[in-house]
Structures are given as C-alpha cells and as structure tokens.
C-alpha cells in the first residue's frame, strides 16, 4: 500500500465473529495496517465522514463492507460513498458478504463497488479467500484523498 501515508482499513461488519475471522486472516496474510471495525452503518458513516482521523478528513482508506447491517443496508453506505461529490467516491470498496445473489452482485457493481466477494461458509475456503484478499490488499494502490475534492 501507499508508503507515504498509512492506509486505514475500515471494516463495516455487524457480526463480531466474522470481523474477528476476517481480521485474523488478513493479519495472517501479512497486512499490518490499522483495521477499524464498526458493527453498524451509522457509526461507520460517522467515522468515514466526520471523524478527525477518518478517511474523509484524514488520509487514504480501504473499505470492507458487509451488506447485512442492523440499521441499514450496506448498499446504502455504498451509495453514500460512491455518490457524485462524495470525498470518498474514489475510495476502494470491497463488498464482503454472505449474499451470492446475482441481482445483488450486479447492483453493487452498478453502484460503484470495486470488488465483490462472497464469504464462503466452508472455513478453509473462507480463510483462503481472506488471505488472498490480504495479498491483494498488499499490492493495490489506494488514491490519496483530498479533503476538498
């Protein structure tokens, strides 16, 4: 990832277990970036846009987004992030969810999701997928966010 400024990983995931498993496997892939975890949509949005150390105001970020959240749908967050004029519209969003519904996948890409990954139930595949995602994260370039953009 970008060397001059650490990239924060923002994980929006309502299931603590999933969050823990994702984090563990990302770490196993050798990714040591900061991971901020939020279990609901509102606090995640608040952090993304308003927190002084959040991505909108401070530094590049990469968002891991689950679609099933208790207070809103993940797609609502996706719409907000990718909306015209949003400071975060270039921020990569990786949708990581249990849904493998074709329509849902299409909708997420239409809304501007950068990657869509279905969580495999089988743990080996799950762990492998997350580790591969970690490897992928280690090579992707994340755009620098200009707060006035």
């Amino acid at each position: 990832m970008n060397t001059h400024q650490p990239v924060n990983i923002v994980m929006v995931e309502d299931d603590e277990g999933h969050a823990r498993l994702i984090e563990k496997n990302i770490r196993r892939a050798g990714i040591s970036n900061d991971i901020r975890h939020f279990t609901d949509g509102n606090s995640a949005l608040d952090y993304l846009y308003n927190s002084p150390d959040g991505p909108a105001l401070n530094g590049p970020a990469l968002i891991l987004l689950d679609l099933n959240l208790p207070d809103m749908s993940g797609t609502d967050i996706l719409i907000r992030i990718k909306a015209e004029g949003s400071p975060l519209r270039r921020t990569p969003v990786i949708v990581l969810t249990t849904t493998d519904d074709k329509v849902e996948i299409q909708r997420c890409y239409d809304l501007g999701a950068n990657v869509y990954i279905t969580k495999p139930v089988d743990y080996e595949s799950f762990a492998t997928a997350i580790r591969q995602l970690g490897l992928f994260l280690s090579v992707i370039q994340v755009p620098v966010i200009e707060p006035d953009a």
Partner: protein, 470 residues
C-alpha cells in the same frame, strides 16, 4: 283438436250432401217448370192452329209433344225417393196423355174443318184438363218448394254447424297456441334463467379462482422470501461456527504438540486427562462439529437454491427432448460404464415448449437417481420415453433398480426426506427440487414403484406453457 277436425270434415260432407239435395230439388223444379211450360205451349200451339191453321203451329205442337216422354222419365227418376211426387207424376202423365189425345184430334179436325174444330174446342174437356194439369204440376212445384225450403234450412243448419265447429276449432287452435306459447316462454325463461345463473356461477368461480390464485401466489412469494431470508441469515452464524472450529483445530495442534513434548521431555508433568483431551476429545469434537456444520451448510444451500429457482424467471422455448436426454446421458457416461448400466432412449419424442434449464435439471435429477439406486447384483437398465397425453407431454424415466416402498411415494418428494437404505450420498433434495420445478411449470411428477422392482417416474408437463403463472 283432432275431434273438431273430424267433426268439421263430417259437417263439410254433410253440407255438400245438403247442397246436392238443394241442387237436386232445383233440378226437379226446373223439370216441373218445363212440364208446365210444355202444357201451356201445347195449348197455345193448338189454339194458334185452330185460329190460323198455320203449319208452324202444328209443327211446334208435334215437336213439343216429342219432348214429353223424356221429361216424364226424368221426373220419375229424379223423384224416385218421393212416393207422393211419383203419384202426381202418374196423374200428370195420364192427364197429359188425355190432353194430347184431345189436342191431336182437335188439330186434325182443324186441318179439315176449322169451324167445327173451334166449336169442338168449346165443348171438349181440354180446358179442364189443362187446369187439372196446372193444379197437379202446381202441387208438385209446391211440394218441391216445400222440400227446397226444408233442404235449404238443413243446408244452412249444417253450414252454421260447420261455422260453429270451425269456431270451436279456431278457439281450440288459439288455446293450444296460447298454451304452447306460454309453455315455450316459460321454458325459454327458465333456460335464460339457467344460463344467467350459470354465467353468474362461472363468473363467481372465476373470481374465486383468481382470488385463490392471488392468495396462493402471495403465500408462495412469502415462502420464497422466508426461505431466502432464513437460509441467508442461517449462513452467517454458520460461517462463525465453521470459522472458529477451524481456529480451534488450528489451536489444538500446538496443544497436542506440547503434550507430545511434555510426554517426551518431562513425563512427571504428564496428565492423562490432558493427554486424552488433546489427542482424542478435541479432534473428535471438532470433527463432529465440522461434519454437522458441513451438512447444515448443504441443507441451507439446498433451501437457498430451491427458493432461488422459484424466483427465477421462466423462459419457455422449444425443446428437443431426445437431444436433451442424450446430453444428460452422455454427462453420466462415466457412472453408467462403472456400474454397467444400459440406457435406452425411445425415439421419437413429442415436441415440448418449456423452460430449458428447469426441464434439464428435472430430467438430470431423475436419470441420476435411476443410475444411483440400482438393485445390487442386477445390471441397471434405464428406459426413457415420452408420449403426448392430451395437452401434456409425459416423460417416463423407468429403471429396474431397487424400487421404492409405496408407503414412501409421497415422502420422497419432500425436502430432506429419503427412502430405503441410506447407503448413497445425498441430502434428499433432488426430488423435492424436481417437484417444485414441475409445479412451477404447471406440471406434475408421479412415481410408480414397488420395493425391489424398479421405479418409473413420470414427469407430465404442459406441451405449451400455461399462460397464467403465480
């Protein structure tokens, strides 16, 4: 009606009879008139001859006399039924004969001595005879007139009768017409009522069917949504169970290694319980958790697939069944060769318009089952055929495998239910899926089988897609 018609006919005949009698009377009267004219004419002719001795008068006399016998004969014949007239005719005949005699003598005398003849004329009884003849013929005429009056009256009577009968007949006809019209009207009225009632019933039935279809499709949608949400939401915790089981397994490994090391390097620290836990209990528990969660995952996936299949848009297209079945059989060739199973495809197969994917999945499931559940020790034989039954295409998948207990024929189509010996892998999903798809396409699936005697699954699909679908 018939009675009055017969009566009318009879009366008409009687009227005709009366008319004939009236006519007859007129004829008789005419003859009587002729007779009277003849009498007068003879007298006139004689007198004329007496006065003028012109031969024409004598000739007229002779000619007129000649008509007498025929006239009398006619009268006799015509009045043969009337004795009084017959008597009068006899009198008239006698009188005329006498008269002729006198007149003839008088004419002959006039030829020789006219003066003597005139004198003789004043003396003879011819005037008296003529008067008598007038009386007789007058009586005859009176008789006939009397008869005529009677007969005309009779005729009028019968005509009146005829009119009365015709009036009755007419009244009857009108009554019959009125009755038949009212019966007809009542009949058509009840027909119209019945038709209206039927229409109303049909409309009501249609409404009910529509309402029921709507309810059903709503219930179906609800079930679909429910299945989707449940299966989806069940997946999430399952990821955790499996994930942390994996973590546990991973964590158990260094623990087991530590136990090994302790046993090797410091046996006095060795605890039998800890050793069993690390070597046996932990791996065993983890193994059970893992197989159970895997099974649960497969079941959830099956529900999800079913609900997804239910939501899929059906796209009917013409299907070549033979080609499709050949493809399915080809994809199973490896297993067929392994088990020595032969497959017969009966050609040709009727055309079918349906959703290709759904039909292919259903047939694959049925054929795979046929290959899967063979009777041990008997080489498998699978026969595939299709026929048109009214507006449906019935596809038979018949095998000689182990068969299905008739008690289980309904059960096997239920989700997660299986029948017979559980020696083959499977979750009891295939046939449930086949039935759901068949229903969705407006078709039916049916099983005929006995234990140990093979099974025939019949998939009956509409030859053309049903227009209304829930």
């Amino acid at each position: 009606m018939i009675g009055s018609a017969v009566a009318a006919g009879w009366t008409v005949m009687r009227t005709q009879e009366h008319a004939r009698w009236v006519e007859h009377t007129y004829e008789v009267e005419q003859r009587i008139g002729s007779l009277r004219v003849m009498v007068e004419r003879l007298e006139v002719a004689r007198r004329g001859y007496l006065l003028s001795q012109r031969p024409v008068s004598k000739q007229t006399f002779v000619q007129t006399v000649a008509t007498e016998p025929a006239l009398i004969a006619d009268l006799r014949r015509l009045t043969v039924d009337n004795p009084s007239q017959q008597a009068r005719i006899a009198i008239a005949e006698r009188l005329t004969a006498e008269q002729f005699h006198l007149q003839a003598a008088s004419i002959l005398l006039a030829g020789r001595d006219p003066a003597a003849a005139i004198t003789q004329f004043g003396l003879d009884s011819s005037l008296h005879l003529t008067r008598q003849l007038r009386i007789v013929t007058g009586a005859m005429e009176a008789e006939e007139n009397k008869l005529l009056v009677l007969r005309i009256a009779a005729q009028r009577q019968s005509v009146r009768q005829l009119f009365a009968i015709l009036a009755v007949f007419g009244a009857l006809a009108i009554a019959v017409a009125v009755v038949s019209i009212s019966v007809l009207r009542r009949y058509t009225g009840s027909l119209v009522e019945a038709r209206d009632a039927e229409r109303a019933m049909g409309a009501e039935l249609e409404d009910r069917v529509r309402a029921r279809t709507y309810e059903l499709s709503r219930a179906n949608d609800e079930i679909q949504r429910f299945a989707y949400i449940v299966s989806h939401d069940l997946r999430s915790p399952l990821v955790n169970v499996m994930g942390f089981t994996g973590e546990l397994e991973a964590a158990a490994k260094p623990l087991a290694a530590l136990i090994e090391r302790v046993e090797a390097e410091a046996p006095h620290l060795m605890d039998a319980d800890a050793a069993t836990a690390a070597r046996e209990d932990l791996p065993e528990s983890i193994g059970f958790i893992r197989t159970s969660t895997q099974k649960m995952d497969r079941l959830i996936n099956a529900i999800l697939r079913l609900s997804r299949e239910g939501k899929r848009v059906i796209n009917p297209e013409p299907i070549d069944l033979v080609e499709m079945i050949e493809m399915i059989v080809a994809s199973l060739q490896h297993r067929l060769d392994e088990t020595g199973t032969t497959v017969t495809i009966e050609r040709p197969m009727p055309p079918l318009v349906a959703d290709r994917l759904a039909v292919e999945q259903m047939l694959s499931n049925l054929i795979e089952n046929a290959v899967k559940y063979l009777q041990p020790g008997r080489p498998g034989q699978i026969n595939l055929s299709a026929r048109t039954v009214r507006n449906r295409v019935a596809i038979d998948v018949a095998d000689n495998g182990r068969g299905i207990d008739p008690r289980d024929h309904d059960r096997i189509f239920d989700l997660f239910r299986r029948s017979g010996q559980q020696d083959q892998p499977g979750e009891g999903i295939g046939l449930a899926h086949v039935r759901a798809s068949a229903y969705r396409l407006g078709g039916l699936i049916d099983c005929r089988s006995a234990l140990g005697e093979g099974a025939t699954f019949t998939l009956a699909l509409p030859a053309h897609p049903v227009t209304s679908q829930g």
